[in-house]
Subunit: 428 residues, 2 copies
């Protein structure tokens, strides 16, 4: 007889709560040993992993999944290598748990400081990318949290094969198996339970497309670390250093198109638009990037010799708010810094924005006044990334302000408690 | 014709979003000038404030409100003094906004750091304590946030009189009036809107009893900084320094009864219970504190000469989980550190717990393993407080782990964004 969803989920949740206490108290060496043992188990299970993945891939082909989805679902030897390498990297990161900062003496005689502590139980909801199972489990484990993982149903056999390796690694390090639980049932109702059960889950991290994340946020009764659009802007200020303009715009737009930190709108001061736009247009044309232009930008680009007319389109209102994730760039001529900051405040998704300028006051105002998770001066938006920022790994990029903002690494999976040291001290 | 709730709330929310941009960009001097001008306006409006409050008090008496509620509602000259002093203190605090930390050089050539930024729009929901209107508005303003305040309907005239002073102060400092909006309509539906409108509100801080906070958390679609029970524990370890035991237990339980950081349960190692319990019992008896005891504690206290039998009761299961806020203390004899930590994990509300010990390893394990917002060694739980911790002021004490934990001051009303400084730097 099948267990009811209620009974199944309660069992899962209670096990996570118990395991969370154990992993929170585990030492750094024990957690790192588990991470390395999981890597070893994956390496030893390559043929099992490939067989389980083949099972999923056959079903995916039969169901007519798109090539992009099948690509993400595939556990190639290279993907398995990357999972193993990721585990080693996370084992090498400093342990955030137990770190104490700012232990200060107070006039009352107590010393007060803060100690970094795990969040507890982290729920991860993701699409059919089995490698996320390992990455997410490893980050949660290192930060001292228990994890409940719910992957896409198309990857169920791959995920269960990976889960067995994770269990082996945990057992090898004498940690409870329930520290990482991969949900093996596919009912959609379980997602709803996961996001609405604060008694079992402390935070949800959805990883996937905007649709998934919005659905999770809508149903959530638990805090969600969420990443919505990356509608990123590059703003060429009147005082931009000439040799920085084209390289930064090129890198921000064309380095990779399908990533959240790619530029989607270029803003340029009217004082310098005639000077730079023809060269920028020629560069974009070489990459085959379509330009959706405000009327002023359209005129300037239309007159430029190296910009084919078929790559130029007038921008609509919707273009300013669109994350293309494609070789398309919206371009708008602005009157100056205030106009640029206002445009960004109105249309940005608060992910990442960059200014190119040699003007100190403009740079300082842009840094201070632009309300995005990452704000950059004279650098490409492509740097908005946990590895580039030195976090070592990231569980996601938060476009929220509450708790964590921007790339979320181990620190975002922890909290801080206050500690007080006295010597028989009482309050007067 | 009365404006619909929809139209009223949309107007309020849009005004808050616009004002949030202005206050986020305001400089420290301007914000401090506003705080001091509000203090001056309150001082000049003493007779208006008293008249408005008299209006509320008459209605409260007519409605038969309890003396405790009427006490909280009263704007005595002393309460007005305290509001003015609070404003001056908040003006004197360092401005958290714009603070940059850990600006580090990365191998790619960029410098990456974090800048402290306002959260945006803060919604405060509170009961009929008009002084909260000023305290909450001042903390939000200093942290660069716009505030929407919804106080108890019994205080509506007092709150509106205070709101006029706040408006005067903002105007005197050339800040938009809408930086602080005090909701002047009393429909309950507006509370529901406030907590479920992420398009207008970034975080909700409910201040009041457990019922209010649970109702807000239940309905919320916006992050909530919430403070539920303070079921705090003092644990007397076998290696406690004898002269610290009675003073800390006495201070934690009897310094003030109705506060969230008062001790509600005493745990004591069985090895030292015979030695200390009679003296602790005598001290509690002098204060008239009722003792709800486990069987072992009951036997020891029953045999103690200075403990009247009428103050001794057997503890029920419910006692371990109760925040009395009264001269009552639950007492349980435990077998040692593990038993104490397990008891706390099971029954505590994760607010504040203290151990009394001279044993280094016991102190370190208690600090590390007890999962509460404040964990103390050899100090009274009464220190869990924003002023005692040096935060200068607190908007509340969070019993959550996400975002802010424990006393929440200006920092808890802010977030951090990433800033990147380059010199034409692109990603390879």
């Amino acid at each position: 007889m099948t267990e009811t969803i209620d009974a199944y989920f309660d069992r899962l949740g209670q096990a996570a709560r118990t395991a969370a206490q154990a992993i929170a108290r585990a030492g750094t060496a024990q957690k790192n040993a588990a991470l390395r043992a999981i890597a070893d188990a994956l390496d030893a299970a390559r043929s099992d992993l490939t067989a389980a993945n083949e099972h999923d891939l056959q079903a995916a082909h039969a169901a007519g999944l798109s090539p992009a989805l099948i690509d993400r679902l595939t556990l190639s030897p290279k993907v398995i290598d990357a999972m193993i390498e990721g585990l080693e990297q996370i084992a090498d990161l400093p342990d955030p748990v137990g770190e104490i900062r700012e232990l200060r003496q107070r006039p009352s005689g107590i010393q007060v400081g803060r100690m970094r502590v795990p969040l507890g139980v982290v729920g991860i909801i993701y699409e059919s990318r089995p490698n996320v199972t390992v990455d997410a489990a490893a980050l949660c484990l290192k930060a001292g949290n228990a994890a409940i993982l719910r992957g896409g149903k198309e990857a169920i056999h791959s995920n269960q094969a990976i889960a067995r390796c994770v269990q082996q690694g945990l057992a090898a390090a004498q940690l409870p198996a329930m520290v990482v639980q991969v949900i093996e049932r596919t009912e959609r109702e379980l997602v709803t339970r996961l996001v609405s059960s604060p008694q079992y889950v402390d935070v949800i991290v959805p990883r996937g497309g905007k649709g998934l994340i919005e659905a999770v946020a809508q149903a959530a009764k638990v805090p969600v670390i969420k990443h919505l659009d990356g509608n990123c802007h590059v703003y060429v200020h009147a005082a931009a250093k000439p040799e920085w303009v084209v390289p930064i715009v090129e890198n921000a737009k064309t380095h990779r198109y399908g990533v959240c930190n790619a530029a989607e709108t270029l803003l340029i001061d009217e004082a310098v638009a005639p000077r730079y736009l023809p060269e920028i247009g020629a560069m974009l044309a070489r990459h085959g990037v379509e330009m959706r232009c405000c009327p002023k930008a359209w005129s300037l680009l239309h007159a430029a010799p190296q910009v084919p007319a078929e790559l130029l389109k007038p921008a609509t209102e919707a273009d300013w708010a669109t994350e293309y994730l494609a070789p398309i760039l919206a371009i708008r001529v602005v009157t100056g810094l205030d106009d640029a900051i206002d445009h960004i405040a109105r249309y940005s998704s608060h992910h990442t924005e960059a200014i190119i300028t040699e003007d100190y006051s403009a740079a300082m105002r842009f840094l201070r006044e632009v309300d995005s998770a990452s704000v950059m001066v004279n650098a490409s938006t492509r740097f908005a990334d946990g590895f580039e920022y030195g976090l070592g790994a990231e569980i996601g990029i938060s476009t929220d302000k509450f708790h964590a903002r921007g790339p979320v690494g181990l620190e975002g999976l922890t909290s801080e408690k206050w500690i007080v040291l006295g010597h028989g001290t009482i309050r007067r």
